[in-house]
């Protein structure tokens, strides 16, 4: 088991490294170098940059040197928490991102919880009552969940609530809390706004998980041990919940690794539609205005947090599910 943990850790580190190279490539991709752009930006806003300062900046970022030297210099600064300066905001990137990163992760995590919370009971119901009206209904909803891209769903929900409720359902906070400091009242306000984006985000993944859960449970229900349990006179609910459901839970463990990146990805795009204060809208804006340090940092941090989140959930599930543990030994 220790070997497995080490292997997972190494893979996570490798993934983070690949993401960091890609993020740096994104910073580098636009034509021209960013120091020239930065100086132009500063001159435009009235501040003057001396030739000596320009040379110092060039030296700092290793411009003119090969890609790997620039990458190494960038990484060395990133590791100590210096992500550079956002050109558009003229402030350190970390300040601009602020709480947004955590809100992104919070929404993705909430969506993960919703996915599990919905997929488990619905999957069980659909398998136990196979071909019932409810099963067909959930299958239908599941197909809609698969087919409607979540940004489209967000758009439709926005439109319907605007049209019929006259309310804008976007955002994560009520206006009075938007710029307020964190307090219990603000957290409660967030909790009230969280379910809608979480459900919208979760629908696609839920549909997939319900289908897997249903298929797995159907296989388990036909096993002889279920008949034995019934023959021994166990109550139906107990028969189902205690044995086949637990055996069919495997996808919950194995799909989380792919579900979480998918949710983080989706949160970026639905945040733009629902104007949620996550990194999504910031990323799009920074990319369009070519504020590359901000964009690169967001891609990097999102990637790293996704990998870490997946790693933690993998380890937790391994700890919870004895079958995974025994398979490894």
């Amino acid at each position: 088991m220790l070997a497995f943990i080490v292997r997972r850790l190494l893979l996570a580190i490798l993934t983070i490294w690949v993401i960091s190279v890609l993020s740096f490539a994104i910073i580098q991709l636009p034509p021209g170098d960013f120091v020239t752009a930065y100086i132009a930006q500063l001159s435009a806003s009235g501040a003057s940059v001396s030739a000596a300062e320009a040379v110092a900046l060039r030296e700092l970022y290793g411009l003119g040197q090969p890609f790997y030297v620039q990458y190494a210099k960038w990484m060395a600064r990133v590791i100590v928490g210096d992500f550079g300066v956002s050109m558009e905001w003229n402030r350190p990137v970390t300040e601009v991102i602020g709480d947004r990163l955590w809100l992104t992760i919070l929404i993705s995590f909430a969506a993960l919880m919703v996915t599990w919370g919905l997929a488990l009971p619905i999957g069980i119901y659909s398998a136990v009552r196979q071909y019932s009206a409810g099963d067909y209904l959930f299958t239908l909803i599941g197909f809609i969940g698969l087919a409607v891209p979540n940004f489209l769903l967000a758009l439709v929900v926005m439109y319907l609530s605007f049209r019929f409720l006259g309310a804008n359902v976007g955002g994560l906070f009520s206006p009075e809390f938007e710029v307020a400091d964190w307090s219990w009242a603000k957290a409660w306000d967030l909790a009230k706004h969280l379910p809608l984006p979480a459900v919208i985000l979760a629908l696609g993944g839920t549909a997939q998980l319900i289908r897997i859960m249903r298929a797995n449970l159907l296989d388990e229900l036909r096993r002889p041990y279920v008949v034995t349990a019934r023959a021994k006179g166990l109550a139906e609910l107990r028969v189902i919940l205690k044995y086949p459901v637990r055996a069919a839970l495997n996808p919950f463990a194995s799909t989380v690794a792919y579900l979480f990146p998918y949710l983080v990805s989706g949160s970026v795009i639905i945040s733009i539609v629902l104007s949620l204060p996550t990194v999504g809208p910031l990323l799009v804006r920074s990319l369009i205005s070519q504020d590359m340090f901000l964009a690169g940092t967001i891609v990097l941090l999102l990637g790293v947090l996704t990998v870490v989140g997946t790693l933690i959930s993998d380890l937790v599930l391994m700890w919870v599910d004895p079958r995974i543990r025994y398979q490894l030994d």
Binding site: S23, I26, L152, M158, I269, V284, A295
Partner: protein, 378 residues
């Protein structure tokens, strides 16, 4: 499995014939027979074919020039086709509202309704079919239209462009971009999946880790970053191909897994061992013996991968980071619907959602049907 199927049949002459046919049928034929029994999948297949026909003859089905802007008919609502005249005689027509500016408020008002007849195969804006034939014939249009009388089956957008025509032309881009991306991912997937399975060892480990790494990254932010770096000066076609490559680069992993799995399971089969013992070379074994038996699996995996590609392009263009105007795709059309106020004013802007959802569902059902059919003995 096969033996059971035979014993179930009563021994009559017809059954013997069927048995004979079954025994000598090729893999593709067996797949086709099984596929035909899936009604939903067949229906979806028809839908997909119709969509591609629509895309192929997009200009023929369009009613107005999709790029033609007109300030006087911004956000014009959809026109309903009426088949009966006031005296209940058959006369397909639409009621055209001519816009004029109110002399006091300077706002546009739509009034002066007049009936204009609809016709089939009427002349309209000129276009090239498949880049080869010049034509100006359109399936549907107004007969003897006066200047200012226009046909808008789905209304118009912010710049007064006809939404139906734009939607039809967008089909062309959105459906082919998926095909090209899937083509590239298929190439990468088959190559890397195949290499990984055949050579095994270090190569296999490297490819498998690469797949795991790509799958554990959030793709949309990466796509966005890469797509945003495409220079503004590039032509529409170049951007189009760059986007397909960007999408394909992160999307080949599923196909690679399918291919590798199939290769590994087939390698254990007796007929492969027989071919090898008979002295067939590696290439011959792969292309003559292995490929035909998992071709249908690849086709199924491809049709399941297509909707994801279409969603990716739509999402990127929707964010303004994919294709850029004057290109027209579903994502670009939906971009106009991003503004909630505009959407409340002109709900028909959401029309592009209908083909997106329809084609994704159709590809999913088709893929499911194909996947089931791909195992004729299963």
């Amino acid at each position: 499995m096969r033996a059971r199927l035979f014993t179930r049949l009563p021994v009559t002459e017809a059954a013997a014939d069927a048995e004979e046919r079954f025994a000598v049928a090729s893999q593709l034929q067996l797949t086709w027979w099984r596929f035909r029994r899936h009604r939903l999948a067949c229906f979806s297949g028809v839908v997909v074919v119709l969509f591609y026909l629509l895309a192929g003859f997009a200009d023929f089905f369009a009613t107005m020039d999709p790029h033609d802007t007109e300030a006087r008919r911004t956000y014009a609502p959809p026109q309903a086709i009426r088949f009966l005249d006031d005296d209940n005689s058959f006369r397909p027509h639409v009621t055209v509202l001519r816009a004029r500016r109110d002399p006091r408020t300077f706002r546009m008002v739509h009034d002066q309704a007049s009936k204009v007849d609809l016709g089939l195969f009427v002349e309209g804006y000129p276009y090239e079919l498949f880049g080869l034939f010049q034509s100006n014939i359109h399936l549907l249009g107004l007969k003897n239209a006066q200047p200012g009388e226009t046909l808008h089956l789905l209304g118009t957008d912010r710049l007064g462009r006809d939404l139906w025509s734009r939607l039809v032309v967008a089909t062309q881009v959105s459906l082919t971009i998926g095909l090209v991306s899937v083509g590239i991912s298929l190439f990468l997937g088959v190559l890397l999946g195949g290499v990984s399975a055949i050579y095994g060892g270090v190569v296999d480990t490297v490819v498998q880790r690469l797949i795991e790494i790509i799958r554990s990254m959030p793709t949309i932010p990466l796509w966005m970053g890469l797509a945003a770096a495409l220079p503004n000066t590039w032509s529409v076609t170049r951007i189009y191909f760059a986007i397909t490559v960007i999408i394909a680069l992160l999307a080949w992993t599923d196909l690679a897994r399918v291919v590798r799995g199939k290769f590994l399971s087939l390698r254990e089969e007796d007929f492969i061992a027989a071919a090898e013992l008979a002295g067939a070379g590696q290439m011959r074994v792969i292309f003559r013996h292995m490929l035909p038996s998992f071709l249908s699996h690849i086709i199924a995996a491809t049709s399941l991968a297509l909707p994801a590609m279409i969603i990716s392009e739509t999402s990127l263009s929707f964010l303004g980071l994919g294709l850029r105007p004057p290109a027209i795709s579903w994502g670009i059309l939906l971009q106009d619907a991003q503004n909630i106020e505009a959407l409340a004013l002109a709900p028909w802007l959401l029309a592009a959602a209908v083909p997106v959802i329809t084609i994704i569902l159709a590809f999913n059902f088709l893929g499911d049907g194909l996947r089931d059919a791909a195992d004729p003995y299963g």
